[in-house]
Structure formats: C-alpha cells, structure tokens
C-alpha cells in the first residue's frame, strides 16, 4: 500500500518506467473518475435541495458532502496510499472538531431559547432611525421572563 515506505521500489523505476522516486503515482483514469464522481454528487446535492424531506434535508446534504470529502481525501490527496499516521492526523482532528461541535450544540440547547424575541437592541435602533415602517421593525424586543 504505502509505496513511500519502500523507496527501493521507487528507485528501481525512477528512470526506467517514469515512476517517481518517492510517493505513489495515481493513474490519470482514477483522478478523472474521482472528479466525475464529485461533479455528479454536486448535481445530486443541488437537486436534493428542492425535495422536501423535512429535517433530513440537512443530513442528506451533509452526508453527500462527507462522501465528496472522502473522495477528495482518498484519491486527490493520495491518502489511500499515504502513511497511516497521516490518515490518523487528518481523521483524528476531524473527529475532534465533530466532538467540539456536538458539545457546543448540546450545551446551547440547554439554555433558554432566546433572550430577545424581537430584534436585538442595536438592530432595532438602526431600524427606528432608518426604516421605521419595515415589517421587521414592528417586532419590538421582548425580554423573556
């Protein structure tokens, strides 16, 4: 798998077969297939937007984005043939971002919905000064009990 871990392989082909001294040569066909898959998934994710499946819309969109990201990382970024430790660095930090996000969203959900049901004070001030007739300006701030 990891060709870079065996430089003897690369050296043997470095000048004969046009292979690099180090690293892995990903065939052009693989790169073209990856790009085609990414473009198809882009069309799908745009199309899914217009289908109402309630709260699952965002999860479908994120799922397609994760598949696209995996395609980019695996083939464009050579992670499939890279050292496992580099995979660990990338996947590990991504997991920690997800962990941080999960805790922040969980924490936010524990607080009262909003302090202001209307516009925040600075926004209301600006509205009163510039566009007092705007519909949104009529929604005066109410502080929740």
């Amino acid at each position: 798998m990891a060709h870079s871990s065996n430089p003897a392989h690369g050296t043997a082909h470095a000048h004969a077969g046009g292979h690099p001294l180090v690293g892995h040569l990903v065939p052009v066909s693989t790169l073209l297939f990856t790009a085609t898959g990414l473009l198809i998934l882009t069309v799908i994710t745009v199309a899914v937007r217009y289908i109402d499946i309630g709260e699952f819309n965002i999860w479908v969109a994120i799922g397609i984005a994760v598949v696209k990201a995996a395609l980019v990382a695996t083939f464009f970024m050579h992670l499939r043939w890279d050292r496992p430790f580099n995979v660990l660095v990338f996947v590990g930090c991504t997991l920690f971002v997800i962990l941080m996000m999960a805790f922040c969203v969980l924490d936010t959900g524990q607080y009262r919905a909003t302090q202001y049901t209307g516009n925040p004070p600075v926004a209301q001030q600006t509205l009163d000064a510039n566009a007092p007739g705007a519909p949104v300006a009529q929604r005066k701030e109410e502080i929740n009990p």
């Binding site: 870079s4 871990s5 430089p7 003897a8 470095a14 046009g18 292979h19 180090v22 690293g23 990903v26 052009v28 790169l31 790009a35 882009t42 994710t45 745009v46 899914v48 937007r49 217009y50 109402d52 819309n57 969109a61 994120i62 984005a65 696209k68 990201a69 980019v72 990382a73 083939f75 464009f76 970024m77 890279d82 050292r83 430790f85 580099n86 660095v89 590990g92 930090c93 991504t94 920690f96 971002v97 941080m100 922040c104 969203v105 936010t108 909003t114 049901t117 209307g118 925040p120 600075v122 926004a123 001030q125 600006t126 000064a129 510039n130 566009a131 007739g133 705007a134 519909p135 949104v136």
Partner: protein, 328 residues
Amino acid sequence: MTQITAEPQTSGHASGHGHADDHHSGEHAKYPFLAHHFETPAQQFDSAKLGMWLFLATEVLFFGALFVAYAVLRSRFPEVFSYASHYLDTVMGGVNTCVLIVSSLTMALAVYFAQRGKKFALVLCLWLTMGGAVGFLVIKYFEYTHKIHENLVWGPSFYVPPHSPEGEVEASVLAKAPAPAVNPVPAPTDPSATGLVSLAARPPADASAIKPAQSGPKGLGVWSAPTAAAAAAMEPQDPIPAEAPSDHLADPELPPNTHLFFAIYYAMTGLHGIHVVVGMIVIGMLIFRATRGDFGPNYYTPVDLVGLYWHIVDLVWIFLFPLFYLIH
C-alpha cells in the same frame, strides 16, 4: 549505501547520532535536492508530508471553530437560515463548486505530471489550476458586491434600507446620530390594515441620485408605497421563490436576527476566499519553479504539498456550499 536505501527506518536510528556529512555523501551527491539533515529522499519526502498534514490539521481546526459557530447559530435560529439562504445565488455557488472541483483535478494532474517528469503538462495544469482560482474569486466578487449593494451584510448595516442616501453611510454612525429630520413622514399607525409597506426614510429607487428636498412638497424624499400588485409579488408564493425581493426590509417574512446569517456567511466564505488567494500565491511560485525545471520524478515535493493545500481548500468549500446555499 544500498542497505540505507532499502531500510530507511533502521538506518536512520542506527546512524542518528553520527551527523557526519560525508557519511551519506553518496546519497547527497546523487540527489542535489536532499537536505544535509536527511539521509534519504524518502525520509525527506515523508517528513515534508507529515509536516504538511499537521498544518492541514490546524487548518481543519481553524475552519472547525467557524463550523461550530455555524452549528450553534443554526440550531438557535433555524428560521433565519432557511429564510436567508434564498438570498444566495445557487447557480453561482454551484458553478463555483464545479470550478473548484475541476481545479482540484488539474492540481492532482499537476502532481501526476510532475511525478512523470512531463514539464509542459505540469506547467499547463498549474496554469489551469490558477485559472480556476481566478474564476472562483471573480464569481465570488460578483456575489459579494451584489449583496453589499443590497445591504445584505453583517451587523446593523443590514437594517439600513439599501439605495437610500443614508444607506451609503456607516450604519454604526447613524445608530448613534439622531433620526434624520429631512421630510419627516409619520409612520403608518396601522401598516397591517392595508398590507402595504411604508419605509419613511426611503426615496424611490429611480431617484436615488437626487438628494431629498429640504423643504417644499413631499416628493422625491418620500418613499412611495408599492402597489398592491407589487406587494403581492413580494409575498413568497413558492417554498423557494425564484427571486428574493430586492429589498429585504420590505419583506414581511423577514425574521429577526437575519443579519446573523450574513455574519457567519461572510466570515466563513471570507476566510475560505483568503485561502484561495494564498493558494494562488503558492501556485504562482510553483509555476515559476516548474517553468525553471525544478521538478521531476525524483523531486516534486512542493507540487505535492501545494496540491494537498489546494485540495483542503476545495474540501472546505464542499461543506460550505450545501450549508449556506442549499438550505431547504
């Protein structure tokens, strides 16, 4: 020497405390690009890759903090996100996604041609990647300028009617200043009675270049209420209107705190745009060196590392596009 080439790991440990330059002079004479503190090209390549991946990890955390902010805001104001997303141009965003994917492909091809030692194809692919970056920023420029022109921005400026003389001024200054006394028009006592929208401080859009009269008949300085047909057209007939109303403040559907969507939109796409600019700079450096003939099958590490950077820029946009443009 052959033993070192075959077993870079063990030889690295065995002679790690040697540090004699002539110890590996054969390897260094063979590969002029090999730095003196590395023993083999493979060791140098792996070290560079590990360093780049660690940098990319910090990039993921960098953007990750903004994604966390996005998640908190969206969980707190879901109605704002589903409403304001329709102000973003899905076509422009989709085209930009495709532009970045294709430029990622040309960057991966550039690495391939560098590995094969095809200089012309390498330089061509780098130029194509640069073209993708320029195209992305040009489209982004049109998106940004259109939104800024409509006052679809972060902060209190969002609540200043666009196209008004006051709209050009910094809103924070206006917020502190007293309300303009030019042609004071009383706000409608019951705007819901007619269903019409009155923006007192707003002149007609076609007279925006003319300053409101200080005195005299109420004319250019007064916002003429839209007709019933125009007001009906502003009502969203469809879950996804074909075109959002040009003046967001006239839209009765506008939820409070909509400016937060644009705050996080500009923060995330702006940081991404800065990364695209940095990518253009490093790709430009690669073009210079590739034209000079620095890269080949033996040495292409800079092309590979810039490629990794460019792919992570693409990867971030892959998430930004559905999260901002494609909210149902």
